[in-house]
C-alpha cells in the first residue's frame, strides 16, 4: 500500500514538474543585432526548485514570453530604459539601460511568497548567463499569447 502511494506521488510530481519544462529550439546566439536596437535574452535556468510556477514576462507593456524553467526568449528594444516585469501573487521587475547593438541578459527566478513563488528578475553578466543559456530552449511570444488567452 505504502509503495503504491509513493509511486503515485512520484508520477504526480513527474507530471507536474515535467510538464513545466521548456520545449523548443535549442539556444542560439543572435549574430545580427540591428544597429539601432539592443537584444535582451530573458531566461530561466533549468532548476527543479519552483518549476511548477510559470509567469509571463513583459517589456514595458509588451508581452515577451511565458517563462518556464529551462526556457529563454528574445526581445529587441530601442536604446533607453526598459522595464521587464512579471507577476504571480506579486509583481517583480527590473529596469535596464538598453544600448544599441549590444546584448543584455535578464535572469528570471522566483522568491518566496505566501502561496506562490514571486517573479525575481535580475541583470546578469554575459559570462554568468551563458552557462545557463546553453541549456535553455527558445520560447515564442505566440505561445505566450496562446497561454494567456486560455
Amino acid at each position: 500500500m505504502r509503495r503504491e502511494v509513493l509511486i503515485g506521488a512520484g508520477m504526480f510530481a513527474g507530471v507536474v514538474l515535467g510538464g513545466c519544462a521548456a520545449s523548443g529550439p535549442a539556444f542560439e546566439r543572435v549574430t545580427d543585432i540591428p544597429q539601432d536596437k539592443g537584444v535582451i535574452y530573458v531566461y530561466r535556468p533549468n532548476s527543479i526548485i519552483g518549476s511548477a510556477v510559470r509567469y509571463d514576462v513583459f517589456a514595458n507593456d509588451e508581452l515577451v514570453c511565458n517563462l518556464v524553467r529551462g526556457g529563454y526568449c528574445l526581445h529587441y528594444a530601442k536604446p533607453g530604459e526598459v522595464e521587464f516585469w512579471g507577476k504571480t501573487e506579486a509583481k517583480g521587475s527590473i529596469t535596464i539601460d538598453v544600448k544599441a547593438g549590444q546584448e543584455h541578459y535578464v535572469k528570471g527566478s522566483l522568491s518566496m511568497g505566501i502561496l506562490l513563488g514571486r517573479p525575481n528578475l535580475t541583470l546578469v553578466e554575459p559570462k554568468d548567463a551563458m552557462g545557463d543559456l546553453t541549456e535553455c530552449k527558445l520560447q515564442s511570444v505566440q505561445a505566450a499569447k496562446t497561454e494567456e488567452g486560455r
Partner: protein, 177 residues
C-alpha cells in the same frame, strides 16, 4: 495580560517594519554645500542615459570648451531561492522575518575636462539593500535602481558644488563665482 499581548504584538509589528525596510548607503561622505549662489557648470555633456539621473549642476552648453562625461554601472546581488526555502522552514518566517534579500549597487563616475588642462574626476557609489519576507519585499528592483541612481547623482552634485573654485579655475570662469 491584555497589555502584555498588545506589547508583544507591537514588538512583532515593529520588527516586521524594520526588517522589511529598504536602506540606502552612499559613499563618499560629503559635507553639505555652503549656502550661497547656486553653482552651475556649463559644459558639453557626454551622457546618453535618463536625464533624471544626471547631476543638475552641469548644464548643457554646446559652445563650451569644457567636456563632462558621466557614466554609471549597476550590480545586482540577491539570495537564491533554495536558500530562501531553507530560511522559510523557520517558524519565525510566519512572523515576517526575512527569508532573503537583494542588493543593488550603483557606481558612478563623472569627469570634467578641458583641452590642454588636466581633468577632474568625481565618483560616488550607492548601495540599496532590501530584505524580503513572505509578506512582501518592500520596493522592487526598478525602484531600488532608481533610489541608487538618485543617491549617486545627489552625492556628485554636492561634490561638484563643494569643488566649485577648482572647477571654475579649470573652466576659466573664475570671475563668475
Amino acid at each position: 495580560m491584555r497589555n502584555a499581548l498588545i506589547q508583544k504584538g507591537s514588538l512583532f509589528f515593529l520588527l516586521f517594519l524594520v526588517v522589511a525596510c529598504t536602506r540606502v548607503t552612499v559613499k563618499p561622505d560629503v559635507a553639505p554645500p555652503q549656502r550661497g549662489t547656486p553653482f552651475t557648470l556649463p559644459a558639453v555633456v557626454a551622457y546618453e542615459g535618463n536625464p533624471a539621473y544626471f547631476p543638475e549642476v552641469v548644464v548643457q552648453a554646446s559652445g563650451s570648451g569644457v567636456l563632462v562625461t558621466y557614466e554609471y554601472k549597476l550590480f545586482y546581488e540577491g539570495t537564491k531561492l533554495n536558500r530562501e526555502i531553507l530560511a522559510g522552514l523557520m517558524p519565525t518566517t510566519l512572523l515576517g522575518l526575512p527569508t532573503g534579500g537583494d542588493d543593488v549597487l550603483a557606481v558612478a563616475m563623472l569627469t570634467v575636462s578641458r583641452q590642454g588642462a588636466p581633468g577632474r574626476t568625481y565618483s560616488a557609489e550607492a548601495l540599496v539593500t532590501r530584505r524580503r519576507s513572505i509578506f512582501g519585499g518592500g520596493v522592487d528592483k526598478t525602484e531600488m535602481r532608481r533610489l541608487a541612481l538618485i543617491a549617486v547623482k545627489e552625492n556628485l552634485e554636492t561634490q561638484l558644488t563643494n569643488d566649485a573654485q577648482a572647477l571654475l579655475k579649470l573652466t576659466g570662469e573664475e570671475d563668475h563665482l
